[in-house]
């Protein structure tokens, strides 16, 4: 579990980007946690605090009850527990051949090479990109690069993975595949924290939500709770997912996903 205690962060001691945030991520067995907020609400700053790239101006972060240590060793330990995949894939791929890049973190962990090969293959096949194994990065599509970037972090086998805008630039098919992939990771026992501007994607993918605005947590809860307040979402430049809209405005039941809606409604007809 990740616990934030009165966490504040400011780049310049004037504006607090994060302002006294206290929360427990992953309590009650939440598997996929979504952070929502408009551009500039502080999502990225929060993520960078979570992986120790930024050190809280005040307050602290506890991982499984232990406060994060900002020594080299402490940070390394933290990053084995929490991995992060950034939005721009190009900036996190250092090798030109897919399998080399995915193996990078394992080499850094001094894993023996047979073991590395095994784990790389496993991760690549989980991400459906085993066929790209020997391919040069520069000729992959945006969606494929995204997968390689995720593979490079997944291979560490950390308990938590942070995904920043995992669907940006993907076509509808890539988006659905991303959804399935996250489900797969969860089934493997990994826990995901993600942020996205795609409300429908968030709604269908996450099981717990935090709404971030002005550096504070404005609301948290499950789907019903967080997406219920149209006014609050509007104020934060967000929108309701369409499944919530048709529930509220057309009086249909609230479904968890499109599939569920159509499966059940088809039975009715």
């Amino acid at each position: 579990m990740i616990e934030l205690k009165h966490l504040s962060y400011s780049y310049d001691d004037r504006v607090k980007i994060l302002d006294d945030i206290s929360l427990k991520i992953g309590a009650d067995n939440h598997k996929v946690i979504g952070f929502m907020g408009h551009n500039g609400a502080g999502k990225s700053t929060l993520f960078l605090n979570l992986v120790g790239e930024l050190k809280p101006t005040s307050g602290e972060i506890l991982i499984d009850g232990e406060p994060v240590e900002y020594s080299k060793k402490g940070l390394r330990k933290l990053r084995r527990k929490i991995g992060i995949v950034f939005q721009n894939s190009d900036q996190q791929i250092f090798y030109s051949i897919v399998k080399d890049d995915v193996a990078f973190a394992l080499h850094n962990l001094k894993v023996p090479s047979e073991e590395i090969n095994k784990r790389v293959e496993k991760v690549l096949s989980e991400l459906d990109i085993l066929s790209l194994k020997e391919q040069p990065i520069q000729y992959l599509s945006g969606g494929q690069k995204k997968r390689v970037a995720i593979a490079g972090i997944m291979v560490i086998g950390s308990e938590w993975i942070l995904l920043d805008e995992p669907t940006s630039g993907l076509d509808p098919d890539g988006r659905i595949r991303m959804q399935k992939l996250i489900q797969k990771l969860v089934n493997n026992g990994q826990r995901i924290i993600l942020s996205s501007h795609d409300m429908d994607f968030m709604y269908e993918t996450c099981d717990y939500f935090y709404l971030l605005g002005k550096g504070r947590i404005l609301k948290q809860g499950d789907k019903q709770t967080v997406f219920d307040d149209e006014q609050l979402l509007r104020e934060n430049k967000l929108d309701q997912p369409w499944l919530v809209k048709i529930h509220q405005k057309l009086g249909l039941p609230l479904y968890d996903s499109e599939q569920e809606l159509f499966a059940i409604e088809e039975k009715h007809n």
Binding site: R79, D90, Q91, S96, I137
Partner: protein
Amino acid sequence: MLSIDKYAYENRIVNWSPKLKALLWLGGIILAFQPIQWLKLAVLVVVATITIYVTKVSFRRYLSWFYAIIPFVLLSVIGIVVTVSPQRSALIWPIKFVSVYIGMAKVMMPKAGQMALQCMTAIVCTYWFALTTPFIQILQVLKAARFPRVMIEVTMLMYRFIFIFVDAFDQIHRAQKLRFGYDSFGLMIHSSGILAKMLFEQVIINYEMMTKALDAKLYDGEFYI
């Protein structure tokens, strides 16, 4: 811009050992430098034919890689043969200039011809090597040749980053062009300056983000090769 790189990954002999390919290249270069002229010509024709076959490149595209360099070969040839001489008979196409003649030295003609042939043969051999050997394999050759580790690491990273910069370059250049940024010499200089500045900013932006990504990947100061 880097079309050669793409062929290097897709040719018929991509899986040959890079060390073997490097040795074959060396063999070709030795043949280009040996003194028998007809052998050079034979090597040129054979290697060019093989290159087109194994890379499945169209003849036109193959020729296009020579357009940029032929002017320089010609320029050098001119530099070798043109001379000033008091004797008209020593020159081809002599032009009288005050009391001397300017023209092409007869004695230098064979030498210039040989140099041009040798140059073309060597270039064809190097193209063969470049078009059949992905850069990743060349790193292996450098490693086998015992180049220092840090140099190979930097080379490997540079190879990856070049494509990021080429992308950025293309996008910026295209956007400038479509807003008429290259319509005259003055504008071209100005726009090139902006382009260079923007690419320079990319160095810093990428460095910042990559530093974070390296932390996430538990980087410890060494890139394994």
